[in-house]
C-alpha cells in the first residue's frame, strides 16, 4: 500500500534560484500592495498620517497665530473666521495650539515606540535563540511588566522621574518593550527550527550573524505591524498622562493637557476641551486603520 509518489523535479543551479527568489520578493511586495490598496480604510489612514506628518513638520509655517501668545482680552472666543476653533482661557488660538501639539504627538508616537521596539526585539531574540536561564529571566521580567496596568506603571515612573515630556519617553519605553519581546521571542523560537537556520548553523555561521541575517529579517513584518499599532497607543498614553497632570506641563500644547486644562470649562466653553480630543481621535484612528490594513495585508506571510 502507500504507493505514494511525488511529482517534483528539483531545480538545479543557484542562478535560477536567485532569480526565483527575486521574483518571489517582487510578487510579495506586489501582493502586499494590492491587498493593502484594496483596503480603503487603510489607504485613508495612510493619507491622514501623511497629512499629519506634513502638519507637524511645517507647523511654524502654517499656524495662523502664535500658539503661546497669551491675550487675556481674547479669553474664550467662540469659533469664528479669525479663530477657527476659538480661543482658550488665556486667549490663545486653539487651532494653532493643536497644530503645534501634533509635533508632540508625533515625537511621542515615534521615539518611545522605536526605543521599546529595539529593546524588545533584542531581548526577544536573545531569549528565543539562547533559551535557558536568560530566556527565563527575560520572559519573567516581561511577565512582570505586563502584569501592571500599563497606565499605572507609567504613572509610577512619572512620579519617580517627575512630570516632563522627556520623562514620558522613558516611562512609555519601560512599559512598551515587553509585548514586542514576547512576539519576537515566539517568532525566533519557530524560526530557529527552520531549515535555513539549521543549515546556516550546520555550516558554522556564528550566532550573532544568524540572528541578524536570518532571524531578524523574518521578524520585520510583525515588527512593522507592532510599530504601526504601537504609535497610536503611545500617543494615547501621553495624552492620558498629560490629562492626569503627570505628563507634559503647561504651557506645552500637548493635546491631552489641553483637554485637561479645558475640562473645567466644558459647560461654558466646550470647544476648548473637545477640539484637541477630536485631534487625538483622528490621528489614533488613522494609525489604527493603517496598522490594521498592514496586518491584514501581511497576514498570509506572517502565518508562513
Amino acid at each position: 500500500m502507500a504507493l505514494k509518489f511525488k511529482l517534483q523535479k528539483k531545480d538545479s543551479g543557484m542562478k535560477k534560484k536567485k532569480q526565483a527568489l527575486k521574483k518571489a520578493q517582487e510578487s510579495f511586495l506586489q501582493d502586499l500592495f494590492r491587498a493593502f490598496r484594496k483596503n480603503k480604510l487603510a489607504v485613508l489612514g495612510g493619507v491622514i498620517v501623511i497629512l499629519f506628518l506634513i502638519m507637524a513638520i511645517f507647523a511654524p509655517f502654517i499656524v495662523p497665530h502664535d500658539p503661546y501668545a497669551v491675550e487675556i482680552d481674547l479669553q474664550f472666543y467662540e469659533p469664528s473666521s479669525k479663530y477657527l476653533i476659538g480661543t482658550d482661557m488665556f486667549g490663545r488660538d486653539i487651532l494653532s495650539r493643536i497644530i503645534y501639539g501634533s509635533r508632540i504627538s508625533l515625537i511621542i508616537g515615534l521615539i518611545p515606540t522605536l526605543i521599546s521596539m529595539i529593546v524588545g526585539t533584542v531581548l526577544g531574540m536573545i531569549a528565543g535563540y539562547y533559551g535557558g536561564k536568560i530566556d527565563y529571566f527575560i520572559m519573567r521580567l516581561a511577565d512582570i511588566v505586563l502584569a501592571f496596568p500599563s497606565l499605572l506603571l507609567s504613572m509610577v515612573v512619572m512620579y519617580t522621574l517627575g512630570a516632563s515630556l522627556l520623562n514620558i519617553f522613558i516611562a512609555l519605553s519601560v512599559v512598551g518593550w515587553a509585548r514586542t519581546a514576547r512576539v519576537v521571542r515566539s517568532q525566533t523560537l519557530s524560526l530557529k527550527e527552520k531549515e535555513f537556520v539549521e543549515g546556516a548553523r550546520a555550516i558554522g555561521v556564528s550566532k550573532q550573524v544568524i540572528l541578524l541575517r536570518h532571524i531578524f529579517p523574518n521578524c520585520v513584518p510583525s515588527l512593522l505591524v507592532l510599530f504601526t499599532l504601537g504609535i497610536p497607543e503611545a500617543i494615547m498614553s501621553e495624552a492620558s498622562l498629560s490629562f492626569l497632570g503627570v505628563g507634559a506641563q503647561p504651557p506645552t500644547p500637548s493635546w491631552g493637557l489641553m483637554v485637561y486644562r479645558g475640562k473645567e470649562f466644558i459647560f461654558s466653553a466646550p470647544w476648548v476641551a473637545i477640539t484637541p480630543g477630536i485631534a487625538i481621535l483622528i490621528i489614533v484612528l488613522a494609525f489604527n486603520f493603517l496598522g490594521d490594513g498592514l496586518r491584514d495585508a501581511m497576514d498570509p506571510y506572517m502565518k508562513q
Partner: protein
Amino acid sequence: MSDNDVMLSVEGLKTYFFTDKGIVPAVDDISFAVGAGKVLGIVGESGCGKSMTALSILRLIPTPPGRIVAGNILFAGKNLLDLSVKQMHSIRGNEISMIFQEPMTSLNPVYTVGKQVMEVLRLHQNLHKEAARAKAIEMFNLVGIPEAEKRIDTYPHQLSGGLRQRVMIAMALSCRPKLLIADEPTTALDVTVQAQILRLMKNLQDEIDSSIILITHDLGVIAEMCDDVLVMYTGRIMEQADVYSLFENPLHPYTKGLLQSIPNLHKDNESLYNIKGLVPNLLNLADGCKFHPRCEFVQDICIEKEPELFEVTKGHFVRCWKYMG
C-alpha cells in the same frame, strides 16, 4: 449503465474561484456518473480539482470566492443545484455524506466523539438522546472501535489518527447514506492503518450498499477499491475508464506517467519515474492541451487546440490528440 442504476450523475460541472488575481477554474466542465453500489475513483495530483469536485456535489464550496457556475448534479432524480438550502441540509450527512482527509482536524476538539456522531443521528433520524447514544455505540462497534461504550465519551485528541478516522466513518455512515464521498480518507494515516481503513470501507460498502466516490492520489488505493476511474488534471477529466481497462491499457500520457511512478516491488527499479515538470498554476494555463508542457509526445496540434474526450473503446475515454478518430 441504465438510468436506474445510476446513483449520481454530474453533467458539465464548472466550479470557478473568483480571486483578486483572476478567475481560477478549479473544476472545468466535468461529467461523470456513479453507479448504484459502485465505487468511482478520482485520481490526480494535488490541485487537480478532485476535492473541489467532491465539495461541489455537496454544495460546500466556500462562497465567496468560489461558485458553481454551470452544470447539473443529478442525485436520486433531483438536481442538487436546484434544491433550496433547507433541502440541501436534509441531504448532507443523511443521503450523501463525506469523509475528509485530515482525521486530526476534522473533528471538533471541544466535544466528545460520541456527541459528534450522535449529532448526525439526532438531526436526521430524530432520535432522542438515549437512542442516539445506543445507535452511536452500535456504529462504533460496526467500524471496529474497541471498547465503544468507553471510547464514545472521549475527546478527539485522546484518540489515535486511525481511531479518529473510524469515528469519521461511523459518523458518515450512521444514516446509511446512498452516496459516500471519501476525500483522501487514508492519506494522513500510517501505512498499516491505511490498509485497515480501506478494508473497513470495502466491507461496510457491501453491508450498507452505498455508492462511493473515492478521491485519492494513490493509484494503489484505486486498484484495490474502485470499479471506475476518473483521471483529473487542471480541473478536467483526462481519462475515464473502468478500473481494468485503465490499468491494463492506460492511454493518456499523464495516466501512464502516474502508473510508472508507482514503485514496483517485483522489479528492481533503480529509480522511480517522475513526470517532468510541476502541476501548472490554474491562473495561467497553457493554450491547447493543458498537459502539453509536461508531455513526452507533444505535437503541434497539442499546443494549438485542446482535445475533446475521445471514446477509444466502449466506456474508455481519453482527452488526447493521439487517439483522435
